[in-house]
Symmetry: C2
């Protein structure tokens, strides 16, 4: 399993994206977002996606030089079309536009139609919070329907993730980012490959019975929403906002049925002023100062795990499984970059 | 256990509130909201509260003729002060103002500071949806801190409920309303009084160990957020929006530290037009048509349970435990209404 320092890995990823047709600024940004997902401890949204994106470029679904289009806007709303552009670009533009709007209008909402994969939702909450806003982003719609509704046994819903971010004052910001399924499909896949059991509450078998055997998911089983009927309700809310409100499937030629919704709020929207940050700091200190429960060593806030991972991996480097890196090298070769050159650049060798 | 038809029970409750000093319109509205909570299957927010409200009037915390005040507003925001008014009045006014604003501004947010008990949050989502809006309402803040953060063992958070509503087209609307704790404290109390066990994941004992013995909560135990770290994150989000953003505790004399936040969105805000209702109907049909899982007979959407309860109890009447009704009669007597008169009015007897 090779290990790479983040900067040369980012440069290597950018070179591959550039060779695939992305202009320098787009190649650099997408590479940075992918590596940041690895650094944040979410490799499922990181460099592993590079070969998939190159396949999509080859297939014509991604057009690497394209940029998102502004379809409509009002004082407090923005509607973007992702089109063939990298989804990350549309997510970044939506985030920046909504935060800027919210400074004047206090609150702003928007969405993206026909959008490619936008990466880790927490990335955009982190961006909005760094610009000073409270932010909510939701992706959802009738896409990969492998999740049963509460009380049901047939796959009728997608993973519909929700991310929320809020700035602290002197404390680190709170960054929430989770799928409304009980578990990520990738984790159930890992358990299957290890022949391990999974915790109860994550899947049903093909007879609609609760199961802790991960193989049951891949034998026509279904995933479950987290938190019973409450998580199911949030999963429906996510689809209503990200798909029905944004109107993704209303387009003459819908790209796919997963849309993106976001909401930005100025922390001073209702007049709390500097009190917002002070109260958020006090809240964070109040909860993190609780004595730990059995089996825990401390209380964290959402976002801490990713922050710590980034700190640790900036120095330790990003480990990539051989299969992931070999797929990257194969993809690079397909756009004319020889493996030796990619390896040298990712290893940070002089002259590369 | 007496059973009352909803209309005479509402008239009797209104008479009591009137005798306690509420003008006719306020007495009638509050009585209707309380009975509607009973009809909806949530007696914890219903007529049982009447004696508590009369105690609060006696204590001077509730001023039954007072109405909420508009503290500030902008094109897309509203800030109300509940003051001594029934909290329901402030919640209704916030809901109506935000929905009306959202018709022009597409999205609107607002809050209530110094607010008395607002009843069942779903009531306000139902109202907003009946006016055609998508609606989110959250109550939260550092009030009754009996819930431990995820990974902690000390009570540092409140139950921070979240309600969301969206209109369907020909389908019934989706109305979500839940506490971000794993269970309502009232249900754990009922289990304690029956010496029954509770499901795992609801409480920790006073040593921070998971417990299914409800007595442990009342021996310095704590409640837990629903859905592990995800529900904990939403509980924090609720406090950030309902308390920190609304700025409740910034007031010179904070009434208490639970604030209320709401968001109204025009379903056409991003241009989905009539497609919003069509897509929501299609989503509802898609999920409810799933075959049921083991142990279930059908798939419901959030709001169905309350709608069915209202339908059934409109005819069957509202059962009230003797203790609840006796407390109402005692409260009524304290404002000069003899039990016989209250009983006759609640029973719908002619001339009463």
């Amino acid at each position: 399993m090779p290990t790479f320092a983040p900067k040369p890995l980012t440069r290597a990823a950018a070179s591959i994206l550039g060779a695939a047709g992305a202009p320098d600024d787009i190649a650099g940004s997408v590479a940075r977002w992918l590596v940041n997902a690895n650094l944040s401890g979410h490799p499922s949204h990181g460099i592993i996606r590079l070969s998939q994106y190159l396949d999509q470029i080859e297939a014509g679904a991604y057009r690497p030089a394209e940029r998102p289009k502004l379809l409509a806007e009002s004082g407090a709303t923005v509607l973007l079309e992702g089109g063939g552009a990298f989804g990350h670009l549309a997510a970044e533009e939506l985030t920046v536009r909504l935060v800027e709007k919210s400074r004047a209008s206090r609150v702003a909402i928007g969405g993206i139609v026909r959008c490619n994969h936008i990466g880790r939702l927490g990335e955009w909450s982190e961006l909005a919070v760094s610009m000073g806003a409270i932010f909510l982003m939701i992706a959802g719609g009738p896409g990969m329907m492998r999740t049963a509704p509460f009380g049901g046994r047939e796959g009728r819903m997608s993973t519909n993730p929700i991310s929320f971010g809020a700035p602290g004052g002197s404390e680190d910001p709170l960054i929430l980012d989770f799928a409304t399924t009980a578990a990520a499909e990738g984790k159930i896949r890992v358990a299957r490959d290890k022949n391990a059991q999974i915790p109860p509450g994550q899947i049903l078998d093909n007879q609609g019975r609760p199961s802790t055997n991960p193989h049951d998911l891949y034998d026509d089983g279904v995933m479950l929403p987290f938190g019973g009927h409450k998580g199911y309700g949030l999963m429906l809310m996510a689809e209503i906002l990200a798909s029905n409100l944004v109107g993704d499937t209303l387009l003459p030629t819908p790209h796919h049925a997963i849309g993106t919704f976001a909401l930005a709020i100025d922390p001073n929207a209702l007049g709390a002023g500097a009190g917002f940050a002070a109260m958020t700091d006090a809240m964070i200190r109040r909860v993190t100062s609780s004595a730990p429960a059995e089996g825990f060593s401390e209380v964290l806030i959402p976002g801490d795990v990713e922050r710590r991972s980034r700190q640790a991996l900036q120095t330790a480097g990003v480990d990539l499984p051989d299969a992931t890196w070999n797929a990257v090298l194969t993809a690079a070769a397909s756009v004319g970059l020889p493996p030796a050159a990619v390896n040298a650049q990712a290893a940070g060798e002089a002259g590369s």
